[in-house]
């Protein structure tokens, strides 16, 4: 059996980095929300609290709970996408072309899907 250990270690680092970055930003965002909300933790639903990519990227970066929590959610959303790219590069490096093809197919399907939006 071909040894995948370095790929496993690499993917584990990527996943841990994504998870920890998201957790830290989420924690900071929730603390800011608590302070902005006059020390209350109740939530309500409004158009302003929706995560919209175009609105997020068109606004200047502000230090508030919305920014921190949006980045935290985006990191979690795109962590699997980054791990596919990493796997593809890894299989290219070890010249395992069967798995380059498989990972490239997954990467292409996801990319086409994102671009369609």
């Amino acid at each position: 059996m071909k040894d995948n250990t370095s790929l496993e270690r690499l993917l584990s680092y990527i996943l841990i980095t994504g998870v920890l970055a998201s957790l830290i930003l989420s924690f900071l965002g929730l603390v800011l929300y608590y302070l902005e909300n006059k020390l209350r933790l109740e939530i309500s639903f409004s158009d302003q609290s929706i995560l919209l990519l175009d609105r997020f990227f068109s606004q200047a970066i502000q230090i508030n709970s919305h920014t921190f929590l949006s980045i935290s959610i985006l990191i979690i959303l795109f962590t699997p996408y980054i791990r596919v790219i990493t796997s593809m590069i890894y299989f290219m490096k070890i010249k395992d072309y069967k798995y380059v093809f498989l990972t490239f197919t997954v990467f292409s399907i996801l990319t086409i899907m994102f671009l369609n939006y």
Binding site: M1, N4, L11, S12, S22, S26, I50, P80, L110
Partner: protein, 274 residues
């Protein structure tokens, strides 16, 4: 409803999700709806939470070689394709028969899973040509058994077809469909319980990403709802990932069967009420 409550109810969902190989959406959505969260926001939040469970638990599973990377890479193509087709078909197909079709699949899984409940490890399976060509095999150290376990995957093609079905279920019902994936791993691909749960966890992040992007671009992600849920699920999934390898395969299967039974009842209820 407040941030702390959301974090606290998400932690057990993350733990159970990580152990049973599910995203935890099937547990979380009914809880959120009961708390008064509109169903569309509950589903959208839960699908992001599935990615959180997947990444949180897979970080540990991959390092311990419990998640099988090659099996995941091969099957992801099928499950993502199924998820995208499923999401597109939802508009055209009424939901009532769907609950019964997917519910029936789970009942069959339950029957076969019950038969295998006391098999600690699968017998040495003869690999078919495709599985062998794709090198679909693996090993891991089982902490409960105190030994290295080697296994070989078989029926790769049928597993792929099964994953399309799991993807369809995920896309049509707005869930990560881990419950379908674990059944396919165990019953078709003949994978041991622990790698089944952890490889399912690894893959569902990708299936859920396909679904989550739809909700992201449709403006259904309420950040003050999603963020605490994701936080709780991440914490829960990291705890769950530490527990899994200490359990016996039989215990993992029993936890899975209990959740399976709950999902079947939920699905039939929804089918009747739809």
């Amino acid at each position: 409803m407040d941030v702390l409550t959301l974090i606290l109810i998400s932690i057990p969902s993350g733990i159970l999700g990580a152990i049973a190989g599910l995203g935890g959406g099937v547990i979380l959505i009914p809880l959120l709806v009961t708390m008064g969260v509109p169903i569309k926001y509950a589903i959208a939040s839960s699908i992001v939470a599935v990615i959180a469970t997947s990444s949180g638990s897979a970080a540990a599973y991959v390092r311990r070689r419990l998640s099988n990377i090659r099996v995941s890479m091969f099957l992801e193509i099928f499950t993502i394709t199924g998820a995208i087709i499923g999401a597109m078909l939802t508009v055209y197909i009424p939901s009532k028969p769907l609950y019964f079709i997917f519910g029936l699949f789970l009942i069959v899984s339950l029957i076969f899973m019950r038969k295998r409940i006391s098999d600690e490890l699968p017998f040495n399976e003869k690999q078919d040509r495709l599985s062998s060509w794709l090198k679909l095999e693996g090993d891991y150290f089982d902490e409960k058994l105190g030994m290295m376990v080697q296994y070989k995957i078989t029926n790769a093609l049928w597993g792929g077809i099964g994953m399309i079905f799991a993807g369809l279920a995920g896309g049509m019902l707005g869930i990560g469909a881990g419950i379908f994936k674990v059944s396919i791993f165990e019953l078709i691909l003949k994978m041991p319980s622990k790698p089944s749960s952890s490889t399912s966890n690894f893959i569902i992040g990708m299936t859920a990403l396909a679904g989550a992007s739809v909700y992201l671009f449709s403006g259904l992600l309420q950040i003050y709802l999603v963020a605490p849920i994701v936080t709780g699920m991440l914490i829960g999934s990291m705890i769950g990932a530490r527990i899994l390898n200490k359990l016996s395969n039989k215990a993992v299967r029993i936890i899975f069967i209990v959740i399976l039974l709950y999902v079947i009842i939920q699905m039939m209820y929804r089918g009747v009420m739809a």
